[in-house]
């Protein structure tokens, strides 16, 4: 007959948690370095278009963003339903404002980096090209020729 010990017997040694902070810190540092915060709060709806020949946007500091899309519901009463341009946190009615915005942003950059500035265009896929063309013209006039149409892979 097998012998069963009923009276508890050996006490379970306490689990040592002293290495827990180390592990957590390791994870913490990983996420801290890998993280990239959202640039702004979108005020426009952006469903990104699809494409296949994508290149990665490197060096976040060189990238400036222009958002185009229909305003979100809570903003419709201020700006209407027409597609809008968003720069940083503000709506811009006039595409010409993009030009001054980009020039200002570039002036604020490091001089060495100014030539490498990339403008990332995040545009809703149902937007009409008219507004996009206007923005492109503004970018040309601002001499910001490197652009990147943000898209999702297929």
């Amino acid at each position: 007959m097998a012998k069963f010990r009923k009276d508890g017997g050996r006490a379970l040694p306490g689990l040592s948690t002293s290495s827990l902070p180390d592990i957590v810190f390791m994870l913490l540092f990983f996420f801290m370095t890998a993280t990239s915060m959202k640039e702004v709060t979108y005020k426009v709806n952006i469903n990104l278009p699809n494409a296949t020949q994508l290149t990665k946007l490197e060096k976040k500091s060189l990238v400036k963003y222009v958002y185009i899309g229909q305003p979100k519901k809570e903003w419709v009463k201020y700006v209407g339903t027409e597609s809008c341009i968003q720069l940083d946190d503000e709506f811009v009615k006039d595409a010409d404002k993009v030009q001054t915005y980009i020039i200002d942003k570039r002036a604020a950059m490091n001089e060495d980096d100014q030539g490498q500035m990339v403008v990332s265009m995040k545009v809703d896929k149902d937007t009409k090209m008219g507004i996009v063309t206007d923005v492109k013209q503004a970018l040309r006039n601002a001499n910001a020729l490197k652009i990147n149409y943000t898209a999702l892979g297929k």
Binding site: V24, L28, A34, T35, M37, L54, M129, G130, N141
Partner: protein
């Protein structure tokens, strides 16, 4: 002089884990791993104000004209075409494999380590879209054209070096880019064909 050694009380580090957890959770929530990807393009430099806009006469065979109207239909050199077939059409146009009279004329150029190469030096792809064109349709066209160039460069590198374009040395990549430069011209915007 004898000094009494006072024992330093041990630092209580048990809350360290809590603090670290808190930070960890914060970064976990705010993080977004996906880096932005997109179609990289270069805009033409601005036109000087005093320049009179003259349409430069191009030999018709050297131009692939792509029009996109407000219904997102495509017209390539006067023919309606599906976007899915645009890539092949563009490749044929850029390479002119059959030495056709209709397609761009070929010239011989010398390119560094690649020696003499026949290439269509004067070809231009002209892209025009309406103000009412949908952005996705426009991007599809751009995507097809970039894909055509990428495939041509890849094929060429494969043929000459047995490697993909991305695996070539920097110098070789530059040479290949010179042989097949992306010549996509976007005309000054015009409004035609309603909204």
């Amino acid at each position: 002089m004898g000094k009494k050694k006072r024992s330093v009380g041990e630092l209580n580090a048990s809350s360290m884990a809590d603090i670290a957890f808190l930070l960890l959770v914060f970064f976990l929530v705010t993080t977004s791993m996906s880096t932005d990807k997109g179609l990289a393009r270069r805009l033409p430099p601005p036109v000087p104000k005093d320049q009179i806009n003259e349409d430069i006469e191009m030999n018709k065979r050297n131009v692939l004209q792509i029009l996109v109207n407000s219904n997102n239909d495509l017209m390539v050199n006067g023919e309606v075409l599906e976007v899915s077939k645009l890539k092949e059409k563009a490749k044929e146009f850029i390479l002119n494999p059959s030495n056709s009279e209709e397609l761009p004329e070929k010239e011989v150029g010398s390119f560094g380590s690649f020696g003499n190469v026949m290439y269509t030096k004067k070809h231009v792809i002209s892209l025009q879209n309406d103000r009412g064109t949908q952005y996705q349709a426009y991007l599809d066209v751009q995507n097809a054209l970039v894909a055509a160039y990428d495939e041509i460069r890849d094929d060429f590198s494969m043929q000459k070096r047995g490697k993909k374009f991305a695996d070539l040395s920097e110098e070789e990549q530059k040479e290949v880019q010179k042989i097949f430069p992306q010549k996509i011209s976007e005309a000054e915007p015009k409004n035609y064909g309603g909204n």
